[in-house]
């Protein structure tokens, strides 16, 4: 080992002596910063990951639809084409639109989703989200409501709700004699997927009911597609676009395309947090700098001696930079261990905290999650490690420069 590294190690971790206080404090500062970074990045990543999971759980990885919002007239012809694309494990058509829904005196305008009962389970495990009730009970005369819609209407299983077609309003305006009568549907299920957008105001009916309601005939609005696990979504999207017939306006969209703005905001927030929390590491690095500066002053005579023994100023500088590097490295390792440890027990921690403050219900309402999600991405860890070690090493630069400027003659003379 080159002597500057050897001496740097020995100054931080002296032979046969207990851990010096300076090393302890410096390492702790860096470790706390790293731990906080890893916890926050993982929780943010967890939210992103949960959202990804919710989106793909409820609509598959890819949607094929007409780009200008039009309808697909011949879904039966297209399903085999889509299903034939490599990597596809399921495809289901859907129709979607707003409509009026009444229960007694209460009215709402939910998004109505028409699903193909024969195919939907190949893409979305819808039954998993339905409680109480069951997807098996859904037919052309029944409806499944989202949890918040059901509670705002006050509708329960077995209650009858009235669904108005948009055509009803059109016909009524034209004062047609033959108006499209509203349909009475029985509630056979309530679903909750954990995704605010879907849970707040959605009703699920059969595709046929939806086509009838919107006067679509056999047309649909698009297809949800499930890919094999681990498939490259972007590559699949490209394959779809190559396979889809031209001139129909049909295009494939990945789940990321559909939620682009949302994901972008999430990424921005994550970057912002990273940037802000990095300042904790930077502040920790400042304390490393000041400790090392004190060390340079305290060790002036020994630095002079190193010169007298033939050590070059450059090597003296390396010795102090290396101390920053070692503090950063040890701090990073401890910080990662601490952060990952906290993440491992996060739900117990939150449970204890919310229990102590008696705010358990608030937490669940606010985040709509009973558990705090966490997903530690390798790229985040790498970023944290690299930044921390670079910053800590830079923390040694000023002390190193000071030390290398000391003239051995004057350093040895100093009292």
């Amino acid at each position: 080992m080159p002597w500057p590294l050897y001496l740097a190690l020995k100054q931080l971790f002296p032979t046969g002596r207990r851990f010096p206080f300076f090393t302890f404090i410096s390492v702790t500062g860096v470790a706390l910063g790293v731990a906080l970074l890893i916890v926050v990045m993982s929780v943010m990543g967890g939210f992103g990951y949960e959202i990804h999971r919710m989106i793909t759980d409820t609509q598959g990885e890819v949607q094929v639809k007409v780009s200008d919002g039009g309808v697909v007239e011949n879904p039966a012809d297209l399903i085999p084409v889509i299903a034939a694309v490599p990597g596809v494990v399921g495809v289901t058509p859907y129709a979607v639109g707003l409509s009026g829904l009444m229960y007694g005196e209460k009215a709402s305008f939910p998004q109505i989703l028409g699903i193909d009962l024969k195919r939907v389970e190949s893409v979305v495990q819808l039954n998993r989200f339905i409680r109480p009730g069951s997807l098996d009970d859904l037919d052309d005369d029944t409806v499944i409501l989202s949890v918040q819609l059901a509670s705002s209407l006050g509708a329960r299983l077995g209650d009858k709700v009235v669904l108005y077609s948009p055509l009803f309003f059109k016909d009524a305006m034209k004062k047609n004699d033959e108006v499209m009568l509203p349909r009475e549907l029985r509630v056979v299920g309530v679903f909750e997927v954990g995704h605010q957008q879907l849970d707040s105001n959605t009703a699920i009916v059969t595709l046929r009911r939806m086509q009838d309601l919107y006067g679509l005939g056999h047309a649909v609005h698009g297809f949800n597609v499930r890919l094999a696990p681990g498939a490259d979504v972007d590559a699949a999207v490209a394959r779809f676009n190559a396979a889809l017939p031209l001139g129909t306006g049909l295009k494939a969209y990945s789940w990321m395309d559909s939620f682009n703005d949302f994901l972008w905001v999430l990424q921005m927030e994550k970057n912002m947090f990273f940037f802000l929390l990095l300042f904790i590491v930077i502040v920790a690095a400042f304390s490393v700098t000041s400790s090392l500066l004190i060390s340079v002053v305290r060790k002036t005579r020994e630095i002079g001696l190193l010169g007298a023994l033939g050590g070059r100023p450059r090597d003296v500088a390396i010795c102090f930079c290396a101390q920053g590097l070692f503090i950063g490295t040890v701090g990073t390792v401890l910080g990662l261990a601490l952060g990952l440890g906290v993440l491992a027990v996060r739900n117990d921690l939150i449970h204890t905290l919310t229990h102590l403050t008696q705010r358990e219900d608030v937490f669940q309402k606010f985040y709509q999650l009973s558990q705090l999600p966490a997903h530690t991405a390798g790229a985040d860890v790498a970023k944290i490690v690299v930044f921390t070690i670079v910053i800590s090493t830079l923390a040694g630069v000023i002390p190193a420069w000071r030390a290398s400027k000391l003239k051995p003659v004057e350093a040895l003379r100093s009292e």
Binding site: P14, T15, G16, G310, L412
Partner: protein
């Protein structure tokens, strides 16, 4: 590393002792026929403090041959430490020339050519006695089994058997200075510069440290320049010089 800085006596053939010896030796006879390890000519050093100019060294001539021991005495403030700093190449003279084994000094050569002992011991507090001795070898860039063996042997020679694993804080002043002596000898230098090595030690301990320095230098044919206030110590060297009025003289 050049050959003429190595410790092997055979390598001394590279220098021309006849030429160097005649011109610069304060006592020419003392170094006859031997390699001139150190040769300083007309060294001058001034300090400027404010507007005042302090002429500390006004032309010092000194030549030291291999195996020779030279003592330098002088009043406090006469410039002994200043002179040693110039000889060690740590400081630069305002005028004059300096040669290490016939070559102009280069910082790169210091670790192999020169060992230094000071009034303060300057041991590195975080590492044990053995590691302090080995520090000289680390800085030279050669550290292997041979160096470890040599460091242990030096600690044994300096009477520190069993203290190798002690930290400087666990050693007495005399023991620390012995470690410093061992460190100075670690790389088998051609020259040892000792600046009041007994200044911080009691009389008895001081005697034994000087005795040690002299005997080790004699055995290894290492030149020694010893700055001391102690007349008895000075008497034991092969040449006794005085620094007075910025110049070296005998008696």
């Amino acid at each position: 590393m050049s050959e003429n800085l190595s410790s092997s006596p055979a390598a001394a053939t590279n220098v021309q002792p006849s030429k160097l010896k005649a011109e610069y030796c304060v006592t020419p006879g003392a170094s006859a026929g031997l390699e001139v390890v150190l040769s300083a000519t007309a060294l001058r050093k001034n300090y400027l403090s404010g507007s005042q100019r302090l002429e500390v060294l006004r032309g010092v001539d000194l030549a030291v041959a291999a195996g020779e021991s030279v003592s330098i005495r002088g009043e406090s403030g006469s410039g002994k430490s200043t002179l040693l700093n110039l000889l060690s190449g740590l400081d630069t003279p305002d005028a004059g020339s300096l040669l290490w084994s016939g070559r102009s000094p280069h910082p790169k050569d210091r670790a192999r050519f020169l060992g230094m002992v000071f009034q303060s011991f300057y041991l590195i507090p975080e590492i044990d006695a053995l590691a302090n001795v080995l520090m000289a070898a680390r800085i030279l860039g050669v550290l292997g089994a041979a160096q470890r063996a040599r460091a242990k042997e030096l600690l044994a020679l300096t009477g520190l058997v069993g203290r190798a694993a002690h930290l400087p804080a666990q050693l007495s002043g005399g023991e620390r200075q012995r470690v410093a002596v061992a460190r100075a000898l670690m790389n088998s230098p051609r020259l040892i510069l000792a600046d009041e090595p007994t200044g911080n030690l009691d009389e008895h301990t001081g005697d034994s440290v000087v005795e040690l320095l002299l005997s080790l230098c004699r055995e290894t044919q290492t030149a020694l320049v010893l700055v001391t206030h102690n007349a008895a110590h000075a008497q034991k060297t092969s040449r006794q010089l005085f620094l007075h009025d910025g110049k070296l003289s005998y008696g």
